[in-house]
């Protein structure tokens, strides 16, 4: 009797979870920008129904648009980071790398970027020059040109000095069609290096916390790592994502949900720098939800996983790569982590901003 009731309750929950979300919030609050559940609701409940089309529907890092016999990949991203310059990088570099990376993990070769600058009245030219040079250098490093752009100036107080919006166009590789639909149980999950570096660097650089620690943002173009993976694994490379906002935890939840399979991972294999781990412990934040700007997660068949790992580790910026988990039949649509302590833990999608706990 009680079992039946429990099953009824669980079935009802599962049904409501599969229903497309409705966006009911009367206003936008900060949690809608954090990359977790609220952001998903905004995108899937408000934007997706309005724009409804097959290029957008998979909600991948870059959209694929048919163009003659080829496919173009297109992506866009806005950068609103404070402070503008932080240890390990700055907004200009981030803006170029971020968009290049969204193309790269979609299997596309970037061919051109646009850059729009929204500048706040009063910004020192020296600061702007620094960012424009950072963008130029990052584009040269990624082998892509900034082909077009726009500038707007807003009144003092209406922007944090500088916002940068970049759009990228690339040519999709017809040999590499990445999709969660090609993911199979037994596939391995590779992570191309230490997690949480960017988010931790920004938190510390903001100076609200009076923590002193040397943490550098990991911002870098992922193109060399993607190339190494493709060369090593070929068609055994199933899918890639760069775990930016929302972190590794959120991206793996999206993977579990979209593929319909379960994700199993091992805590002791997660590459985390001691200093990032320490900062997160003090702040009560989980590095699994902290942003990365130069890391990728790749799903590779189990046969090709070791070769792919080797290739990543032999590429600059991929030295700390690890196989952090694998795809399982069960528990479907969920992410489970085997903890270093010997238990298991459910990894949920980030609910709001990763807020520090008091208890």
């Amino acid at each position: 009797m009680s079992e039946q009731r429990e099953q009824r309750v669980l079935d009802a929950l599962e049904q409501s979870r599969r229903r497309p979300p409705k966006f009911t919030a009367p206003r936008i609050d900060m949690s809608h920008g954090a990359g977790g559940k609220a952001t998903h609701k905004l995108i899937e409940g408000l934007l997706l129904p309005a724009f409804n089309n097959p290029a957008l529907a998979p909600l991948s890092d870059a959209a694929l648009l048919p163009f003659g016999d080829a496919q173009l990949a297109m992506t866009t991203d806005s950068f609103v980071v404070r402070p503008l310059v932080f240890p390990g990088g700055s907004i200009g570099e981030l803006a170029v790398n971020g968009t290049v990376n969204d193309l790269a993990v979609s299997g596309a070769t970037p061919i051109g970027l646009s850059a729009a600058l929204i500048i706040e009245e009063g910004l020192e030219t020296e600061v702007l020059t620094h960012e424009v040079e950072a963008m130029a250098n990052a584009a040269a490093r990624a082998g892509v040109s900034i082909a077009t752009g726009d500038t707007k100036v807003v009144e003092r107080g209406k922007g944090d000095g500088l916002y940068v919006i970049t759009t990228g166009v690339g040519v999709a590789d017809p040999e590499c069609v990445f999709s969660t639909a090609s993911v199979r149980p037994g596939d391995k999950i590779l992570c191309s290096g230490t997690i949480g570096d960017h988010g931790a660097a920004i938190l510390i650089a903001r100076g609200d916390l009076e923590l002193e620690a040397e943490v550098l943002s990991d911002t870098q173009p992922l193109t060399p790592l993607v190339k190494a993976l493709k060369d090593a694994a070929g068609s055994e490379l199933r899918f890639m994502r760069d775990p930016t906002r929302g972190g590794v935890g959120t991206v793996l939840n999206e993977l579990a949900r979209d593929s319909g399979y379960g994700v199993a991972m091992w805590e002791e294999r997660l590459p985390i720098r001691d200093v990032v781990h320490g900062a997160c412990e003090i702040l009560g934040i989980d590095p699994l939800y902290v942003a990365n700007e130069g890391k990728l997660l790749a799903i590779v068949s189990s046969e090709a996983a070791d070769a792919a790992l080797e290739a990543l580790r032999n590429t600059d910026g991929g030295e700390d790569s690890q196989i952090i988990g694998e795809i399982r039949e069960e528990p479907a649509r969920m992410v489970l982590m085997h903890t270093g302590f010997g238990g298991t833990r459910m990894i949920d999608m980030l609910v709001g901003d990763p807020l520090p706990r008091i208890c």
């Binding site: 609050d29 085997h338 238990g343 520090p356 008091i358």
Partner: protein, 375 residues
């Protein structure tokens, strides 16, 4: 990482787990409550229940200070935050606690000046830097955070900072535990005592649990090995038929507590005759307010908060779930009127609350989950 990894050693954990298994009576069911929300977090984060025999069940207690705040107190905070002259400051995890018409994040989006702080001293600094504004600190927490509020108020008084006040929602840990122990349908065998609270109040306040109610209590630290060792200590007491208060967290918790902190608290606070707890109702002498000597800093007086009460819906059965009488899915409003997006009861507010965990992960949150070998 040094001073952390030592307390998360998987091999030691297996040894302690084997010790627990060896003294578990296979025909008996053990219900152990961890009173503190921080312990619940550790249990989930490290998957501790997977290391315990099936007969040992952990029940999550009422010790999450944000979860137990009643809607009326959240609503009153929001009313203060909406005043144009006010800079409203609070801890991060307060931002999402739902009141009857939204949470602080949403009110901030409507234009209120709400700032997250890491310490009440940060709120005082904001007051110093903004003499033309009124800065209010939304104080929450058990005896763990109360001393820092007390010290901040002592400093504000000494410096004569007049544009600073505190909306005091500090609660005390012993009364809700006593209320649980008093209920005739209680089905708990033993308690894991809250470590951080005990750094302040010490272990003596728990002696009534063993003396008057025959329940063993072990004050525990927050690393996973601390918890596992505490469970072993409780199981040993149950096996020996002992009923004592023991201190596992001796490296931080003195038996008598922190006398300096207690002195500051005694100067700044006094007990409220009663206070409402979300899902548990009114509990006598279970919360703190500012003492007459600090009345000038009392936001309740400064803004004459009306003491609004937003009744817990009658259908809410958090109390029964806490006592171990009901499973979350057996509650009348579970998953319908009460969801993580719109929680009615305390156990749905925090993602680690028993009901929220069950809602998000279903039966899996109660089962041991096998994910197989490592390679």
């Amino acid at each position: 990482m040094k001073y952390v990894d030592e307390f998360r050693d998987g091999e030691l954990a297996r040894a302690v787990a084997a010790g627990i298994a060896s003294i578990t009576d296979p025909d008996r069911h053990y219900k152990i409550m961890e009173v503190c929300g921080g312990h619940t977090h550790t249990i989930y984060r490290h998957g501790i229940k997977d290391l315990l025999p099936d007969q040992v069940e952990l029940v999550h207690g009422p010790g999450c200070p944000v979860c137990v705040l009643p809607m009326g107190r959240v609503d009153e905070g929001i009313e203060i935050a909406e005043r144009p002259e006010v800079i409203f400051t609070c801890f991060g995890d307060m931002m999402r606690v739902p009141g009857s018409r939204g949470n602080l994040l949403e009110i901030k989006a409507e234009g209120a000046d709400i700032r997250m702080v890491y310490s009440p001293l940060d709120a005082l600094r904001i007051a110093r830097e903004n003499p033309e504004r009124e800065v209010v600190f939304y104080a929450i927490g058990f005896e763990t955070t109360a001393p820092s509020t007390a010290l901040t108020l002592q400093r504000a008084k000494k410096e004569g900072i007049e544009n600073f006040s505190v909306f005091c929602n500090h609660v005390t840990i012993v009364p809700p535990v006593r209320a649980l122990l008093d209920s005739p349908d209680l089905r708990l065998d033993a308690f894991i005592g809250p470590g951080h609270v005990s750094t302040v109040i010490g272990c003596r306040p728990y002696e009534f649990m063993s003396a008057d109610y025959d329940k063993p209590c072990v004050v525990a630290g927050f690393e996973p090995l601390d918890l596992l060792q505490s469970i072993l200590m409780l199981m040993r007491q149950l096996e020996d038929g002992r009923c004592e208060v023991e201190n596992q967290y001796g490296r931080v918790v003195p038996w008598e507590g922190n006398l300096q902190a207690l002195k500051s608290m005694a100067e700044v606070f006094e007990l409220r005759p009663y206070f409402e707890w979300r899902g548990l109702g009114f509990i006598a002498q279970s919360a703190l307010k500012l003492s007459p000597a600090y009345a000038d800093f009392d936001a309740e007086l400064r803004y004459s908060t009306p003491g609004v009460r937003v009744a817990d819906p009658k259908a809410c059965q958090c109390g029964e779930v806490l006592k171990g009488v009901l499973k979350p899915h057996e509650c009348r409003v579970f998953g319908t009127a009460c969801t993580p997006e719109r929680p009615l009861g305390a156990l749905m507010v925090s993602s680690e609350g028993a009901c929220a965990a069950y809602y998000n992960f279903g039966r899996k949150s109660f089962e041991k989950v096998e994910i197989g070998s490592r390679k």
